[in-house]
Every structure is written in structure tokens, then in C-alpha cells.
């Protein structure tokens, strides 16, 4: 028992160094995904068929194929076209492109969730379509999207473990190294899992605070 405890305490510093890369990759790909989704969503909602179709295909394509396969295409496949990335960059690109598709869906459903009556009221006052989105629709839609966006970030933190397979030495990869040195797979991977869990729980808590801060006064869930 003590032995296990001391063993885990002993490997923690080494594992925690991997947290930095895990968070770096997750954050960067989340931001890339956010920016791309801010382009994808309006393209899908407001442009004419050839373009809107393209945005839709992108979203369906990335949502309908495994992230691991997308990662392989980018890291192992693209060099055939002369596009060669180091492992971290390839990982960030794959996660970012993938997350963009999911974030675009989150944004789209949040916008669709704004009642028609809000549009009508804004139109009846003489606002332009751009003004309606800028001042009435998006501020409300982004609020609705916060929980789902945080959830998407938490998903990214967990899915970033996939890039260990192309050799990025993030949290999971460090666990693998430790296992091959110590042969104590159970303790090591449980410790790795624990670290992921603590990170995700922390972000969920932060999300609750953010949500509360941006809550529309007087708004009750289900009201």
C-alpha cells in the first residue's frame, strides 16, 4: 500500500511535466478550432450553395471520421504531398481542424436556439441583419454555447492523448515511458488517469463560474 503510494508520488513530477504539453496542445487546438468555427458557421448559415455546401462537407467530414485516422492522414499522409510537419504541429493541426467541426455545430445550434421572436423584435425596430446578429443574436448565442464549448475543451484535453501515438511526449506518452521502465502499468496509468481527471474537473468548475458570471439576470433554467 505504502509502496504504491510512494511509487505514485515518485512518478508524479515526471508526469506533471507532461501536463504542460497536454494543455499547450489542447489550448492551441481549441483556439484554432474556435477561429475556424467562426468562419465555418456563418459560411454554412448565410452563404449560397457552393460555399455553404463546402462548409457542411467539412463539418460532416471531420465529425464522421475517427480523429486517430485524421491524425495519421496529416502526420503520415500529407508528407506525400510535400507537407511535412513535426509531431506536435501535426497533432495541433489535427485536433484543431477536428475541433472546428464540433465547435461550428455548437455555435450553429446556439444560434438556431435563439427564438424567432428576437429576430422579429429587432427587425421591427429597423436594425440591419448584421446589427441583429452583432447585438441581439450572438451575445445570447455565445452565452448558451459556453457549457458546450467548455465541454468541447475538456474533450480536447482527453483526446490530445491520441497524439502520443505519433510520438509527442505529452502526459500519456510519459506514462508509456514510465511503464516500459518500471513495468507497473496499473499504478502508472491510474496516476495518468487521475491527472486527466483533476484537470477536467477543474475546467468544469471554472466553466460553472464563467457561466454564472455571464448568466442573463433573471434567467432561470427551464423558465
Amino acid at each position: 500500500m505504502y509502496d504504491t503510494l510512494f511509487f505514485i508520488l515518485g512518478i508524479l513530477p515526471y508526469l506533471l511535466e507532461g501536463v504542460y504539453l497536454t494543455l499547450y496542445v489542447s489550448t492551441l487546438s481549441f483556439l484554432i478550432g474556435f477561429v475556424l468555427s467562426a468562419i465555418l458557421t456563418p459560411t454554412r448559415l448565410f452563404t449560397q450553395p457552393p460555399l455553404s455546401w463546402l462548409a457542411r462537407t467539412y463539418i460532416e467530414g471531420f465529425r464522421g471520421t475517427p480523429l486517430l485516422v485524421q491524425l495519421f492522414v496529416i502526420y503520415f499522409g500529407l508528407p506525400a504531398l510535400g507537407l511535412k510537419f513535426d509531431a506536435v504541429t501535426a497533432g495541433v493541426i489535427a485536433l484543431g481542424l477536428n475541433s472546428a467541426a464540433y465547435q461550428a455545430e455548437i455555435l450553429r445550434s446556439s444560434i438556431k436556439g435563439i427564438p424567432e421572436s428576437q429576430f422579429l423584435a429587432a427587425e421591427s425596430l429597423g436594425l440591419t441583419t448584421a446589427q441583429i446578429y452583432r447585438y441581439v443574436v450572438l451575445p445570447q448565442a455565445v452565452r448558451t454555447a459556453i457549457p458546450a464549448l467548455v465541454n468541447e475543451f475538456v474533450t480536447l484535453v482527453k483526446e490530445s492523448s491520441l497524439i502520443s501515438v505519433i510520438g509527442v511526449v505529452e502526459l500519456t506518452r510519459r506514462g508509456e515511458y514510465l511503464v516500459s521502465y518500471t513495468f507497473r502499468a496499473l499504478e502508472v496509468y491510474l496516476a495518468v488517469a487521475l491527472i486527466y481527471f483533476v484537470m477536467c474537473a477543474a475546467f468544469s468548475q471554472i466553466a460553472k463560474l464563467v457561466e454564472r458570471k455571464f448568466k442573463i439576470p433573471g434567467y432561470e433554467r427551464g423558465a
Binding site: 421572436s117 428576437q118 422579429l120 423584435a121 429587432a122 427587425e123 421591427s124 425596430l125 429597423g126 436594425l127 440591419t128 446589427q131 447585438y135 441581439v136 451575445p139 445570447q140 452565452r143 442573463i216 439576470p217 433573471g218 434567467y219 423558465a223
Partner: protein, 257 residues
């Protein structure tokens, strides 16, 4: 002078015709009351007036501007036509004050200080100035509707369109909104109002129109229509409306037709 002229208006959704040739006018300062069973096309008519629903055919002229002319900038027409919705439709993420200053700044291009001044005076006219910093969902339905009325009034409209402004409210909250509306009416605002408040129609209305199935059934001065309806259908409708209010426990006196 006519503030609103609607002639032979037809409109609908997809291939379903809702308005089957409606003609009416609102003169300056006049209050026209529109009644009719649900599904008769009252709301669609109001929305057509400012092209929130596109008319199929017919003409609409507001304050000399032909609304149905596709070259007309409809936003200019909307800016001078107030619209009050049944469910208030305030913007929940903005304070009461911001709800009113936003269109003043964006549409009327007013500087912030002037918009605030204007908004506060509009709020004062509906007795809501103390609530300027509250958010809509912190208010009662009646208070929200008064704010929505203030938002419409602040734009200095030539015509106020009201779509069942009291229908979503509890009986005791109706009264405060009706009092505000009566006050606005007395000050000479031109109004086209969809309502089932028979007393209000009688006290405030200059002209009353009963619609059914996209057509006008009967029209005339409210007093005559309410106490001496010509058509059997009007009699029937008023009876059912009055019964509903009696059941709903309206605070207002009931006038029997």
C-alpha cells in the same frame, strides 16, 4: 390624413393564403381595433404592414411611403412604425435602458447621451423609469410589456402596431398595461391594435374591424359594433370573448353586447 392605407392585401405562408384581400385605413390620431378568432390573420396583417411577413399582393402605404414598393428601404419605414408584440420580445441580455437606447443609437443614429435621455423619458411615460437598470426577466409580464411599449414610443413612431399586447398577461397585470395604452391613445398616437379587450375597444377605439378567415366580416364604430352588431357572426364572436373574460376574472367592468 392617412397614416396607414392597406388595400386588397393578400399574404400567406408557403401556399396557404392567410389574408384574402384586406383593406383598411388608419387616419392620423385614429385608433383602429382589430378583432377576430385565432387564425383569422390579425397577426399576419400587422406583420405585413412592416413587411415582417412579405405580402403577396396589394398595397400598403405608411405615412406617404409605399411599403410594398420593393425599392423602398423597409428599415426606414420600420424605424418610424412602432411594433408591440404579445410576448413583449425584449432583449433579455440587455438592461431595460439598453433595450431602448440600442435602436435609438443604431437606427436613429442618436449619440449615447441623447438616447439615454430619450429612453428615460419614454420609460417615465409608462411609469418604468425606476427599472431602467433592471433586466427584462427580472420584471413581471406587465412591466415587460410597458418597457416594450416605451421602446416603441422612444422611436417617435407615426403609427403604433400592437399585437394582442395584453393577451399573455394575467388579468391583474392587464390593467396596468391597458392604463398605459389608454394614456398613449389620449395623447394622439395613431394605433392599429389587435385585442380582445372589448372595454378598451369601446373606450379608446375610433373604428373596429372584425376579421375571420383572412377577410373582414364587419367594421364600424366600436360602440355600434359592440352593442348593436349587424352580423350574426359578430354577435357570436363578441359573446364568446366576453364570456372568456368573465371566466378569466377580468378586473374591468363587463359590457354586455
Amino acid at each position: 390624413m392617412d397614416v396607414l392605407v392597406v388595400s386588397d392585401l393578400r399574404a400567406g405562408y408557403k401556399d396557404h393564403e392567410v389574408l384574402k384581400g384586406i383593406s383598411l385605413r388608419v387616419r392620423k390620431g385614429e385608433k383602429v381595433v382589430l378583432m377576430g378568432p385565432s387564425g383569422s390573420g390579425k397577426s399576419t396583417l400587422l406583420k405585413c404592414v412592416v413587411r415582417l411577413v412579405e405580402p403577396w399582393s396589394g398595397r400598403i402605404i405608411i405615412d406617404g411611403t409605399e411599403v410594398t414598393d420593393k425599392r423602398v428601404d423597409i428599415r426606414k419605414v420600420r424605424a418610424k412604425t412602432g411594433f408591440v408584440f404579445q410576448s413583449y420580445n425584449l432583449f433579455p441580455h440587455m438592461t431595460v435602458l439598453r433595450n431602448i437606447t440600442l435602436p435609438l443609437e443604431l437606427v436613429k443614429k442618436m449619440p449615447r447621451e441623447k438616447a439615454v435621455e430619450k429612453a428615460l423619458s419614454a420609460l417615465k411615460s409608462v411609469g418604468m423609469e425606476e427599472y431602467a437598470d433592471k433586466y427584462p426577466l427580472q420584471l413581471s409580464g406587465g412591466q415587460q410589456q410597458r418597457v416594450a411599449i416605451a421602446r416603441a414610443l422612444a422611436m417617435d413612431p407615426v403609427l403604433l402596431l400592437l399585437d394582442e399586447p395584453t393577451s399573455a398577461l394575467d388579468p391583474e397585470l392587464r390593467e396596468e398595461v391597458l392604463v398605459v395604452l389608454e394614456d398613449i391613445a389620449r395623447r394622439g398616437m395613431s394605433m392599429l391594435i389587435v385585442t380582445h379587450e372589448v372595454d378598451f375597444a369601446e373606450d379608446v377605439g375610433d373604428w373596429m374591424i372584425l376579421m375571420e378567415d383572412g377577410r373582414i366580416v364587419e367594421e364600424g364604430p366600436p360602440i355600434e359594433m359592440i352593442h348593436n352588431p349587424k352580423k350574426e357572426r359578430t354577435k357570436q364572436f363578441l359573446k364568446s370573448v366576453l364570456k372568456r373574460y368573465a371566466d378569466g376574472g377580468s378586473q374591468r367592468k363587463l359590457v354586455s353586447p
